[in-house]
Symmetry: C2
DNA sequence: GTCTTATCTGAACATGCGTTCATATCAAAG
DNA sequence: CTTTGATATGAACGCATGTTCAGATAAGAC
């Protein structure tokens, strides 16, 4: 019995994306079948193809959407002249943003190898753009003599790895709230790059 | 034509493990078929079952082997009384050990969700034991008044995340050698936990 | 009330999956 | 030289995969 209750495109579409994100994060892209996604939405597998040309696009669209959101959110953040304040802003922004969407973060970091080469290049470019934001702050701080880092590129990657790692252990309702976590990490970042 | 050139068990066995490790690291456990592993070894799929009861054991044995190696190597490291020297030792050990086996590191961090619950618990226990090594050092440093960390558990995870991140960008023959990388990271770790 | 069109079903397609097993081969033991 | 046993083949098993599509259904337009 098709079309059981009206025009559902604007409802089913987001539900497909949500179900795919959830399942990809839990079990991995390759381990999730189109039929599992369809079942989670409450639809037959064939109906998914009204919303995505194929499984690969489903993954790519999730990842590109996540990176676009990340860069857009970052673009609206205030940009203080002081490198230390900028770095604190970046640190707190990164932790908050990533803790708010653990599934998208997980998928975007773990499923890179399941992207086609073209799609991989696109995502990689967006990630690089985000990293450049942090590296710019570090460079400015070094130039101003307030940071002492041996290598801005490596420090950038090290800081991002440390901050993103928070998603592997943080659980809502745990011992610490997001603001406390931000402060603990900011304390480490601040000292690590200090002159 | 079976058994084309003598008794190969002691040669084929390791080759199966190596091929599985390589392919799992490149494409992910779920995306790699037993036939692909067999092809890499130069054998038919059925022959793999002389060396593993099933695909899951192939993954689990690789991960347990990696964690066992990690803990065994760590156990032979010298244990200075000074917390700062201990932390430097741990930092350099961690980077060196992980850069020497990038495939095993990748698989052990990415394929946790493809382990059965029992196998997952085992690997998780070994990882915890390793983390406890670092946390012990941090606690000792805090007690001695040479480290100032807000939360030893979180700092442990943050430091390990930062150090392990080196495997995502380091390439042999690149701009920096392992010793230089060790020094850069040790500089950041040392400052991040400093009092 | 009829028609159109978006949405979904359910079956089908070719292909690949992990795993099993009877059979073949050959190294080494007697 | 014969026998044994480890090691491999290659075919087969039932089942799942991503994707396609003709047909069914119902909401909204006229």
């Amino acid at each position: 019995m098709a079309r059981t209750a009206g025009s559902h495109s604007d409802i089913t579409g987001p539900r497909v994306a949500q179900a795919a994100l959830r399942l990809f994060a839990r079990h991995g892209y390759a381990a999730v079948s189109m039929r599992q996604i369809a079942a989670e939405v409450g639809v037959q597998a064939g109906a998914l193809y009204n919303y995505t040309p194929d499984k690969q696009s489903l993954l790519f669209d999730l990842m590109r959407g996540h990176m676009d959101e990340l860069l857009a959110a970052r673009a609206t953040a205030p940009a203080p002249g002081d490198p230390v304040a900028s770095l604190e802003g970046f640190t707190r922004f990164h932790i908050r943003f990533h803790l708010e969407r653990p599934d998208a973060v997980f998928v975007s970091y773990m499923e890179l190898r399941n992207l086609t080469p073209d799609n991989f290049a696109t995502i990689e470019g967006l990630r690089r753009a985000y990293e450049d934001e942090l590296e710019g702050i570090l460079r400015a701080g070094v130039a101003a003599g307030v940071f002492a880092v041996a290598d801005t590129k490596i420090t950038t990657l090290a800081v991002i790895a440390m901050l993103t790692g928070v998603t592997t252990w943080y659980r809502t309702g745990g011992r610490l709230n997001v603001a406390q976590v931000e402060t603990i990490y900011w304390d480490m970042v601040r000292k690590a790059v200090a002159g």
